[in-house]
């Protein structure tokens, strides 16, 4: 999912830009804009969890409709 830098407007893929030079132990999960260096933290795990739950319920819904169609 591409993100747009809030400072310089550059659009980039976050996977490629996680901070690799970080001094914090274990990395800081920060995404740095490749153009201007503006850093935003990666998605909160709460939000990720929420997304996963949504996806799961959607998948269940999808399965339901499959069953209905087959039957």
């Amino acid at each position: 999912m591409s993100v747009k830098c809030a400072l310089c407007g550059c659009v980039f893929e976050p996977e490629e830009q996680s901070c690799a030079v970080c001094p914090t132990v274990g990395g800081c999960r920060v995404i740095c804009c490749p153009r201007c260096g503006y850093a935003v933290p990666g998605e909160s795990s709460l939000v990720q969890l929420w997304r996963r739950i949504r996806r799961k319920t959607n998948a269940v819904k999808g399965m339901d409709s499959d069953i209905r169609q087959a039957g």
Binding site: A6, L7, E15, R29, E43
Partner: protein, 662 residues
């Protein structure tokens, strides 16, 4: 007979139900965001290939929602009666991928152009959903589309998306199950309709609606000839051409023109039902605000106003909550006594001390992190995410540039200073993008010296909020003066100027709650993961120093400076040491001292100035040494440390001489 005569129920099942191998075809006018949506739907890995016999690139990839679907990104097309190679490839894809579900991507700002294509997809009878993309820009232009009505008219799911920000993609994905052929069937004049019927009889069972193919043929699509030869035989092709020629001979204007005219009339009729212009709420206000916020003169009061708001939200509201938490409710009355009681069961006094003593992990480390930092930083991050979402940050950079250029700093060196508001350590890393060595040095120095990071700023606001607005203004004035002064002096050494950094200034827009919430959550989580362990480690170090008696030694060693010169109680030395571990940790220590009534207003200001100008925190120093070398690191500490003490002391003297009491 209305054209679509293929065995629909059969194919529909294959399409919507069984997922493996399902094809999802992205279709739409050029530059509407198809490719961006494609990337959302597929994730990282995509195959790019030349469409056979053309130079046109077609991208395809596996759907990231993992149901075995394949997503294909078609080149842009304004019509299915091709006039360009791109359009031909799109049409061919529709013919070839006849089991595909189509996502038509539309530019909401230019819906009528998209609906012309929808009309043709409707003739083709392909199951589809419509994505109204670029809703962000449409909103700014005050263009509103009644999505429900449009969905009702077209009888297909319609989803609003802002692909660049990933909005609506999930919903789009969900509605794929409900894809069906659009109903935007246009009735042409009777002679055209008659010709269409005749042609339809001549063409065989087709994956695409016969009517669509008949229309393409009437519009003079010669590319279809080969394809038709194979399926219907040369006689049928001949017959079709003579029908088309006959029709043309009875009309003065070209047939494709006539067909398009009727289509566009129908589209305009639909538009009349679904589109309306909002009052140019289109953010006349936001636009004006946007323009003024970068104006060299008007921008400064706007910045001041924003800082004022920040002060109220963080310094007054946030700090109020902190004081409550610290003084009574959570920690004072419940947690610390509870932990104390728990460890009282253990017969080891040292362990008790470690948890709830003067430098206890719970009584200091956790308390600072949860009771002081959490509320204050939370409020600060809400404000910051809001400013980020409305698009203020680039404007702040522009403003800072205007000011800092006056003192001779180049435009590019300004950016790290702005970034430093987030985290000095991170910003120091970005100084490596600056061109000259001296520029890098100045930016690094200023960052270490005078730019408070966001968490520190939040605690500072909370502390000063307890005093008065004047104190806040005074503090920022002092820091700003240091920044300008040192920047100015340092830049004297730096000749010549550099090209400005070009920023894309986005329009100011109304903030979106969901954005602000997710950004704030991300920031808080990140902050906590980073700060809490360091807070605990810092407390532990202080605890050890204390037990070894080293802390008393350090405090007494610095007493002449701290008490005599800065006019602060000796206990602040511990806060300064904490500040070296993390600046915000130090600020939190000062907050506690103030809460205990050990610091008066003047002393708070002096100590905050010192701790802000003070040597950078360990992480920052580490990066400075790594990026600029050990010598520079030592030099910066060697300069900043005495400098902070001198400025703090002068401030103290000034307060005494003028008998100021804040």
């Amino acid at each position: 007979m209305e054209g679509v005569s293929r065995p629909r129920c059969h194919t529909m099942k294959g399409r919507a139900g069984g997922k493996t191998g399902r094809k999802i075809l992205l279709v739409g006018n050029p530059n509407v965001g198809k490719s961006v949506i494609f990337h959302h739907l597929t994730g990282k890995y995509a195959q790019v290939s030349n469409y056979p016999g053309t130079t046109v690139m077609v991208t395809s990839g596996n759907a990231s929602f993992g149901d075995g679907s394949v997503v294909i990104d078609s080149p842009g097309a304004n019509s299915l009666s091709p006039r360009s190679e791109d359009e031909r490839v799109t049409r061919d894809l529709l013919l070839k991928e006849d089991q595909a579900v189509v996502i038509q991507v539309a530019d909401t700002k230019n819906l009528s152009r998209a609906l012309l294509l929808t009309a043709q997809l409707s003739d083709a009878g392909t199951p589809m959903v419509l994505a109204l993309n670029m809703t962000d820009e449409a909103e700014l232009k005050g263009i509103n589309i009644d999505i429900q009505k449009l969905s009702h008219v077209l009888r297909v799911p319609v989803v609003a998306t802002t692909a660049t920000r990933g909005l609506g993609i999930q919903e789009l994905q969900n509605t794929l199950e409900e894809a069906r052929p659009a109903k935007l069937r246009v009735r042409f004049s009777s002679d055209i309709e008659h010709a269409l019927l005749q042609i339809e009889e001549l063409i065989p069972e087709l994956p695409l609606g016969r009517r669509a193919v008949a229309l393409m043929l009437l519009c003079g699509d010669t590319e279809l000839e080969n394809w038709l030869q194979q399926r219907a035989g040369p006689q049928a092709v001949q017959a079709i051409y003579s029908i088309a020629a006959d029709l043309q001979s009875r009309n003065a204007r070209p047939i494709d023109y006539l067909i398009n005219r009727v289509r566009s009339r129908e589209v305009q009729r639909v538009m009349g039902h679904v589109a309306y212009r909002g009052v140019a709420r289109s953010n006349y206000l936001a636009d004006t605000f946007g323009r003024w916020s970068t104006h060299p003169l008007a921008g400064i009061p706007i910045l001041a106003f924003i800082l004022l708001l920040l002060y109220y939200v963080v310094g007054v509201v946030g700090a109020g909550i902190v004081v409550d938490l610290v003084e009574s409710v959570l920690f004072g009355e419940y947690i610390i006594p509870a932990v104390g009681w728990l460890f009282a069961l253990l017969p080891i006094p040292l362990l008790q001390d470690l948890m709830v003593g003067e430098y206890g992990l719970v009584s200091v480390g956790l308390t600072y992190a949860v009771a002081i930092i959490l509320p204050v930083v939370g409020f600060f991050f809400i404000c910051f995410s809001l400013l980020e979402d409305i698009g203020y940050l680039p404007r702040l950079a522009v403003m800072a540039n205007v000011v800092l250029r006056r003192i001779g700093l180049s435009g590019k060196a300004v950016l790290p200073l702005i970034l430093g508001l987030g985290c000095d350590t991170m910003a120091t890393l970005t100084t490596r993008t600056l061109e000259s060595k001296k520029e890098r040095l100045i930016a690094t120095l200023l960052l270490a010296l005078a730019v408070p990071c966001s968490a520190q700023m939040a605690v500072i606001l909370a502390l000063l909020g307890g005093i008065s607005g004047t104190a806040v203004a005074l503090f920022f004035a002092i820091i700003l003066i240091q920044l300008l002064l040192v920047g100015f002096l340092a830049s004297r050494i730096l000749p010549g100027d550099r090209p400005d950094f070009v920023l894309e200034i986005p329009p100011i827009r109304v903030p979106q709650l969901s954005n602000v919430v997710t950004k704030t959550l991300a920031r808080m989580e990140w902050y906590f993961k980073e700060a809490v362990p360091l807070f605990l480690a810092g407390t532990f170090i202080l605890f050890v120093l204390d037990k070894l008696g080293a802390l008393v030694f350090v405090e007494s060693a610095f007493t002449p400076v701290v008490e005599g010169w800065l006019g602060l109680p000796a206990a602040t030395a511990a806060a300064f040491i904490m500040g070296f571990l993390r600046r915000d940790f130090g600020a939190a220590g000062l907050f506690m001292l103030a809460e205990q009534g050990l610091l008066d207003a003047n002393q708070i200001l002096v100590s905050l100035v010192v701790i802000t100008l003070f040597i950078p925190c360990i992480a920052n120093l580490f990066v400075i040494i790594k990026e600029r070398g050990l010598r520079v690191g030592i030099a910066i500490v060697g300069f900043v440390f005495p400098y902070a003490i001198v400025v703090g002391g002068l401030l103290n003297l000034l307060f005494r001489a003028l008998k100021v009491g804040l």
